[in-house]
């Protein structure tokens, strides 16, 4: 008997004895049974807010997450250029920026804008080693998010081709970009989106900059991930989801 068989046989004989709660014979049956028990987590203290953008902003403030609402892609690009101009360096000697190679971000056309500030601009495409090097040399990483969640000021990012994980992690500053038509009100809605697509090997929920309170419960931003985070919400033609 191999490792898996041995383990499952043992577990099967234990679980079979639990006659009270054992109702399903297959995973599909169990999943179906679980659907009958709905458990949405909602706080009654949550402000009732029709405007998801305002709700996102409301929840971003205590997380030290900066939210910028931009009227179009051009406005978003200008906002990013302004952040790049003001922000200081931490790990590197010169300013470089890396961005996800994604249709949303290509619309920003950041290259020429940053060239004016003499900031080298990279996309996460091409050779893997090259991307790694550029990521480590960049002080800002710009990512394209799949969805936003207003109730927790969260961006959800799937790891797909052109959108590696380290862009939102290794640089000192993370800028997440999201068209407003993909901003959802609740985490429950976001999970519903995840249920309807084939999921990649990796995805992440990001709610603000990295932080720690391990020393005397004193809150410090920038433990291992970015110490500063901006979310750019871009107004789009499409209506809100």
């Amino acid at each position: 008997m191999n490792n898996h068989e041995m383990f499952f046989n043992k577990l099967h004989s234990i679980c079979s004895q639990n006659q009270g709660q054992r109702t399903a014979a297959t995973f599909a049956e169990l999943a179906e049974a679980h659907k009958q028990i709905a458990c949405p987590v909602t706080d009654s203290s949550e402000p009732i807010q029709q405007d998801v953008v305002a709700l996102f902003q409301h929840n971003a403030t205590p997380l030290n997450l900066h939210v910028h609402r931009c009227s179009d892609w051009q406005d978003a690009a200008a906002t990013i250029a302004a952040i790049a101009q003001q922000a200081g360096l931490e790990f590197t000697a010169q300013k470089e920026i890396i961005a996800h190679d994604h249709p949303d971000l290509r619309q920003l056309d950041l290259g020429p804008l940053l060239a004016k500030q003499r900031i080298p601009f990279h996309l996460t495409s091409g050779n893997g080693a090259e991307i790694q090097k550029n990521t480590r040399n960049s002080f800002i990483g710009i990512t394209a998010a799949d969805w936003g969640v207003a109730e927790s000021a969260t961006l959800i990012q799937l790891t797909t081709e052109g959108r590696p994980r380290s862009t939102s992690l290794v640089p000192s500053i993370h800028i997440g970009v999201l068209p407003i038509n993909r901003l959802l009100a609740t985490l429950e809605q976001a999970y519903a989106m995840l249920m309807n697509i084939p999921l990649p090997d990796s995805f992440v929920f990001i709610s603000g900059p990295s932080k720690t309170a391990d020393i005397e419960a004193h809150m410090v931003h920038g433990a291992h991930g970015p110490k500063e985070m901006h979310t750019i919400l871009v107004d789009t033609e499409g209506k809100a989801v």
Partner: protein, 488 residues
């Protein structure tokens, strides 16, 4: 674990905790803020029976654990991940050591994992000559201090900023400072080097999801994302019960976890990993290994008295409310799992006789049950453990813990069922107690084996006339009054 004989006793460590001023300050802070805060959140839920329903789902998943883990395994293997089942701690350790040796791993970075402490992973790797670095700031501080964590969520709550400042000055060779942002920045710099250059990242698993085939990890610091993104190999150590069947169940558990642990709607990062990264990706691990660990859990699952404890999602809320943990701190529990949950799970995993003090040290006040996101009835399980220690239990290899106590209470039980003898003895004790009475008329020192009863408290003396005597006298007196009244 293996160090039973050399470890200090619960009582000694508890006394040390009581005398540790930084610990006392840290405990007060965390209990005032987080324990009460979690209760407040549960009260604010629009739906008061939510936790009950989540618990029902959780228990249903546990009752189908074989089916659920099979689904998880299938989905992870489909993405090219490896799944290994470890019946014991040693099996899990050996699997990781073999892998490390095959891949010529020299440097390991860790994300905070209690399971890894449970199985002794760090020590084993270090003995094999591999450098192991804890990357959670609290765990890193504890590792530099050659110490152990004293809280599930806040590992270095027993150290203050001055102690940490001196530690960093000594170990990291930096000028002394007790400024938390500066100290954090120094750790950030030191650990970044490790995180960007390690060969293997080892993490735990907060909640896996069988339906999608992922493990998920929560962190505020980002160290866990680093440890699962930069090294070529990611090993996740998972207690076999830490799995949700469906995404829907995952959503509820995740939100209860982050609220219970730190009053957060979500932690800064919630990352899902379900296999190696795709070929050609610039980052993410080339190999993904999930080690699913039994190490005594199947025995808990098979016992209807205790299977409920496997619903625990290790948020640590019970530590933040427990009056006992809140005074003595985590080290007294002699286990990676401290507080009320530790007092139940540690004896079950590592021997009930071995950790007999834990269930007796708790007060059964019920606060842990009230604050638990899945409403685990820890006080009930503590009582069952006490029962097993009093009477023994062959199924759990428990021998009666204290034979003389057992004999004393058997005698006592016989005595209270023989009223005449009982009353004579009580009257006699009233006389015999006199030499033991202190100036304020309390019994403050009992002789011989009974001295333990008076080490930390004074007992009121036995009254000169008992309630029963007084009652009888009162009855006679009132009858006399009635008779007198009739005569008049």
């Amino acid at each position: 674990m293996s160090k039973q004989s050399e470890r200090a006793s619960y009582t000694d460590l508890a006394h040390q905790g009581l005398k540790n001023a930084p610990l006392q300050k840290g405990l007060r802070g965390i209990q005032q803020r987080y324990g009460q805060g979690a209760l407040h959140i549960w009260d604010s839920f629009a739906d008061p029976s939510l936790r009950k329903r989540v618990k029902a789902k959780r228990e249903s998943t546990l009752a189908h654990l074989d089916i659920v883990l099979e689904e998880l395994t299938k989905n992870i293997e489909q993405r090219g991940g490896n799944v290994f089942f470890a019946p014991t701690a040693q099996d899990a350790v050996n699997y990781v050591l073999d892998l490390a040796s095959k891949k010529e791993v020299q440097r390991v970075v860790k994300g905070k994992s209690m399971t890894s402490a449970e199985i002794g992973m760090d020590e084993a790797l270090e003995q094999a000559g591999i450098k192991v670095v804890e990357t959670d700031l609290g765990e890193y501080i504890v590792q530099l201090n050659q110490d152990t964590a004293s809280h599930i969520i806040a590992p270095c709550i027993h150290l203050d900023r001055k102690q940490i400042g001196r530690l960093f000055h000594e170990k990291l060779d930096i000028p002394y400072t007790d400024d938390p942002p500066t100290l954090t920045q120094e750790a950030r710099k030191a650990l970044r080097k490790e995180l960007l250059s390690a060969d293997m990242g080892i993490t735990g698993c907060n909640i896996a999801c069988a339906e999608t085939g992922h493990i998920s990890l929560v962190s505020n610091e980002g160290n866990i994302r680093m440890a699962t993104t930069m090294p070529k190999i990611h090993v996740a150590l998972m207690g076999m019960e830490r799995v949700a069947a469906t995404l829907d169940e995952h959503a509820s558990l995740l939100q209860l976890l982050t609220r219970g642990a730190a009053l957060q709607k979500l932690s800064t990062y919630v990352s899902f990993q379900g296999g190696p990264s795709e070929k050609g990706s610039p980052d993410g691990p080339e190999e993904f290994h999930l080690v699913i660990i039994d190490n005594g859990r199947s025995k808990i699952l098979a016992d209807p008295d205790f299977q409920e404890v496997l619903s625990c999602i290790r948020c640590g809320a019970c530590l933040n409310i427990c009056p006992v943990y809140g005074r003595i701190g985590g080290h007294a529990y002699n286990s990676p799992y401290s507080g009320p949950i530790g007092a139940v799970i540690t004896p079950l995993l590592h021997g009930i006789n071995n950790h007999a003090d834990l269930c007796k040290g708790e007060t059964l006040c019920g606060a842990c049950k009230e604050v638990c996101p899945v409403e685990n009835d820890l006080p009930r399980m503590l009582s069952v453990l006490r029962h097993k220690l009093a009477y023994g239990d062959p199924q759990w290899n428990v021998t009666p813990h204290n034979k003389s106590e057992h004999r004393f209470f058997s005698l006592w039980s016989r005595l209270v069922r023989t009223p005449k003898l009982y009353h004579i003895l009580i009257r006699l004790s009233g006389v015999l107690q006199r030499p033991f009475l202190s100036r304020d008329n309390m019994v403050s020192k009992l002789p011989g084996k009974f001295h333990g009863w008076t080490t930390t408290r004074d007992l009121p003396p036995i009254a000169e006339s008992s309630f029963r005597q007084k009652w009888l006298q009162n009855k006679i007196a009132s009858k006399n009054v009635v008779r007198k009244g009739q005569k008049d």
